[in-house]
């Protein structure tokens, strides 16, 4: 496109056209930063072992769900503890649409990926559309409690619908990762490189996350995003200036559920087996933790938070080697074992971040960046 004339004059932040001003990467810093980040992300599967790459792939998919939650809770201010419900709806919709009928005894239609990914999102979005109007009558704590009820409703539904979910204890396989005959669940070549299964799934997750992150970022920067922020900040004032509350609250829930549906379906396609008790309150809290620790009302914060929470288990295992009194075995030895350490750290981190860094990892990044931007005149 047009090379900004200002750049040639050494004044990159001088915008000479509207398109330049509203571009997503409107400063060279952003352009180079995102490019470097993407390059690093592409190199990651070749630097780590397969089991870490698998964790990262799952983290990137969880980030899609976290972005969804951030859209409804962070940007639009509608507290939703029911994210696990929408994840579950999306997972089972995806599994039913895309599951391999020979691989599982539950209902499965074996449709291709281009059908079940949007399909899962749409079914979950439908659920969000139905739940959305609740938000117009309730705010804050009351909305949180009602969405919490959704989780228990969902839990009961998933336990009983055995022809879809396989029943508790047994579970079922997720959707098949089959893209026009190209299989993402077996090792093989991709663009000339020989990749393992985990690496392929990581690439798939990265591509999907990029698409949804860009969509989310654009949504947040658009009129809809501004309406969300207005509702979050002062919903009565927003209504007074003409922001339709019902419309935008329902839209927030619908879009967030779409993200959650896609995230759930792809997550359990990569993980392999899904069991109905997975969609419990703890999962909702995990996603809340992702956006709180990552940074509310930021897309990059959602991604950082998701990666942080999903890798926490693995990291505690590695840290346990260095800290005395922690046993790596599940039974016997040590004062506490790694699973308990993980649970303790989890709680401590949420509390710590809320007290000391309310803007989360994004806040830390923000302060670091400003420090170095102003260096040596930082203060």
């Amino acid at each position: 496109m047009n090379r900004p004339r200002s750049a040639g004059r050494g004044r990159p932040l001088l915008y000479t056209s509207y398109a330049q001003d509203i571009a997503m990467f409107n400063t060279p810093g952003k352009r180079w930063g995102v490019a470097a980040l993407f390059a690093l992300a592409l190199l990651a599967p070749f630097a780590f072992n397969d089991d870490v790459v698998l964790i990262l792939a799952l983290a990137l998919v969880a980030a899609i769900g976290a972005i969804g939650l951030n859209l409804v809770t962070g940007y639009a201010g509608q507290v939703s503890l029911g994210h696990a419900f929408f994840l579950g709806i999306g997972t089972y919709a995806g599994a039913v649409l895309g599951g391999d009928p020979e691989a599982t005894r539950a209902l499965a239609f074996g449709l291709p990926m281009v059908v079940w990914i949007p399909g899962a999102g749409l079914v979950a979005a439908l659920a969000g559309l139905i739940v959305g109007p609740l938000a117009t009558r309730l705010r804050g704590l009351y909305l949180a409690i009602v969405t919490l009820g959704l989780v228990f409703l969902g839990g009961h539904l998933f336990k009983e619908a055995r022809f879809i979910t396989g029943g508790i204890g047994a579970g079922r396989r997720g959707a098949a990762l089959d893209f026009f005959g190209y299989r993402f669940d077996q090792a093989g070549p991709l663009l000339g490189l020989d990749l393992t299964r985990a690496q392929k799934q990581y690439v798939l997750a990265l591509v999907l996350l990029s698409i949804f992150a860009v969509l989310g970022r654009n949504l947040a920067r658009s009129g809809v995003g501004r309406a969300f922020s207005a509702i979050r900040d002062r919903d009565i004032a927003a209504e007074v200036i003409g922001v339709g509350l019902t419309k935008y609250k329902v839209l927030a829930f619908t879009i967030s559920s779409f993200y959650a549906g896609v995230a759930g379906a792809v997550f359990y396609s990569i993980a392999g087996v899904v069991e109905p008790t997975a969609f419990n309150l703890l999962l909702s809290v995990q996603y809340i933790a992702m956006i709180l620790i990552g940074g509310v009302a930021t897309i990059s914060g959602s991604i950082m938070g998701a990666i942080f929470i999903m890798t926490l288990a693995r990291v505690t295992q590695e840290i346990a080697h260095y800290i005395p009194y922690i046993s790596t075995q599940a039974i016997g030895g040590g004062l506490i074992n790694v699973f308990q350490l993980e649970a303790i750290l989890y709680g401590l981190l949420i509390i710590g971040f809320l007290i000391f860094e309310p803007r989360g990892l994004f806040g830390i990044w923000f302060r670091t960046r400003n420090y170095w931007k102003g260096w040596p005149f930082s203060y």
Partner: protein, 448 residues
């Protein structure tokens, strides 16, 4: 930098460093044992002469018994913390570690020590967690010394077949007879139920009603299918009821027992659920004959309030003799484990399940092929296994069709407060008429 910022960045830095250090593809030799990448072509001929691929190394095991031997890594995925079988699974795992230590102490197999302690993972008796931890160790082990749970094992069965990973299940599902990669031992739940019902008809006749309470998963349904077949064969009034895991979830089951008042109650759950159902039903006045599937007993149950009810009514239909039985195998197990604080039949089970794996490894080593494919072929050729008296040798027949090769004998044990495990054998190995006649042409609990 202000102190507050330092404390924010320091843990973050630690976290990032830990993750980087952990995951680097150039394997850390001091933290993880040497691994063979999945992509390496199969068949490195080594000094010992046998072909190997994944899960077998020339370097000795960590904490090796024989420093000159190589190492064969076996994985264990068990219910170690929160599931319904956790009190049994810990002893199962310990018994297996003791078994392989005994094998190593007499020199290992074909110049390799067997390591069954490095890749031990917890599955929380949940198919999803089981799959997740299996994916973690999938590329590191030659075979699975233990995979606990019918439903959790079914969840990873496709992947086991794809990778030719042989596994000894810590469960007795009839579906295992039809799987080449599964090294089952002992009569499956289906035959066990049939034998139990047959024995019950000998005790109380056939003009009775039978209620079978079971878990809703593959374990429970397999046993219920067996008891239903036996009930139909004898013309017994039959009904079945599902109940979820969890001691506090048994209200529906207890109500069913009290309202239907069956003459015979067959229970296929975990020990906690069984004692809850039997104890509460007895407290509300129900009396009758109680049969429990193999995994329903734990000696600790004798310390509960329901102990008198259990003593009067409970009988365990089991796959082999309890801890105190007098056979060479049982004695070897007692010697290897030494003084255990709480004796329970988890130890017996873990010990017995390891014999076929040892036989398969020895056969594969003799063939000079310790690859995964080689081990699978050795398993498929086994017609008998030396169980040192704990089971008849023909119980380890994996070569024949399930109709001929499946083992159909069970043991009945009654509560015995003098015994170390709280139960003792009252009827030794027998096959009931129903099990004898049943044509095993498919798993008892059909998929779908």
């Amino acid at each position: 930098m202000s102190p507050k910022k330092r404390w924010t960045y320091l843990p973050l830095l630690l976290v990032v460093l830990a993750l980087v250090a952990a995951g680097c593809r150039a394997a850390e030799q001091e933290m993880q044992p040497p691994e063979d990448q999945e992509q390496e072509p199969a068949g490195d001929d080594d000094a010992q002469g046998a072909q190997t691929d994944v899960g077998v190394t020339e370097e000795p095991c960590p904490n090796a018994v024989n420093e000159d031997n190589g190492c064969i890594y076996l994985g264990i995925i068990s219910d170690l913390t929160v599931g319904p079988f956790a009190p049994l699974a810990g002893p199962i795992t310990e018994a297996q570690a003791a078994f392989w230590r005994r094998v190593n102490e007499v020199g290992g197999i074909a110049g390799y020590d067997i390591d069954a302690t490095t890749y031990v993972r917890d599955n929380e008796f949940n198919a999803e967690v089981h799959n997740r931890v299996f994916q973690e160790i999938r590329g590191e082990v030659l075979a699975l010394a233990q995979t606990l749970g019918s439903s959790p094992t079914l969840a990873i069965l496709d992947d086991m077949r794809d990778d030719s990973i042989v596994g000894a299940p810590a469960s007795w599902n009839s579906a295992w007879e039809f799987e080449d990669v599964i090294l089952e031992s002992g009569a499956n739940y289906c035959f066990e139920s049939m034998n139990g019902v047959d024995w019950a008809t000998e005790q109380v006749g056939t003009d009775i009603s039978l209620l079978h309470i079971h878990f809703p998963d593959d374990y429970g349904n397999d046993a219920a299918a067996g008891s239903e077949i036996a009930a139909q064969a004898h013309g017994i009034e039959y009904s079945a009821q599902e109940t979820p895991p969890g001691r506090d979830q048994q209200a529906g089951a207890i109500e069913a027992v009290v309202s239907q008042s069956p003459d015979v109650l067959f229970i296929t759950t975990g020990p906690q659920e069984m004692v809850e159902i039997v104890g509460r039903a007895a407290a509300r006045g129900w009396q009758g004959l109680v049969l429990g599937s193999g995994p329903t007993w734990n000696p600790a149950l004798l310390g509960t309030d329901a102990a008198p009810a259990l003593e009067a009514m409970y009988h365990q239909v089991g796959p082999w003799g309890t801890w105190g039985t007098d056979t060479a195998g049982h004695q070897a197990m007692r010697d290897a484990l030494g003084d255990v604080s709480e004796i329970n039949d988890g130890y017996t089970a873990g010990w017995v399940w390891s014999y076929p794996m040892r036989a398969a490894l020895e056969a594969a080593a003799e063939n000079g092929d310790l690859t995964r494919e080689g081990l699978l072929q050795a398993v498929s050729a086994l017609t008998e296994v030396d169980y040192e008296g704990m089971l008849p040798n023909e119980a380890g027949n994996y070569a024949d069709e399930p109709e001929q090769g499946a083992f159909r004998q069970s043991i009945i044990a009654g509560v015995d407060t003098e015994s170390e495990t709280g139960v003792s054998t009252i009827e030794d190995f027998f096959t009931g008429p129903t099990a004898e006649e049943h044509a095993l042409d498919g798993p008892c609990y059909e998929l779908g």
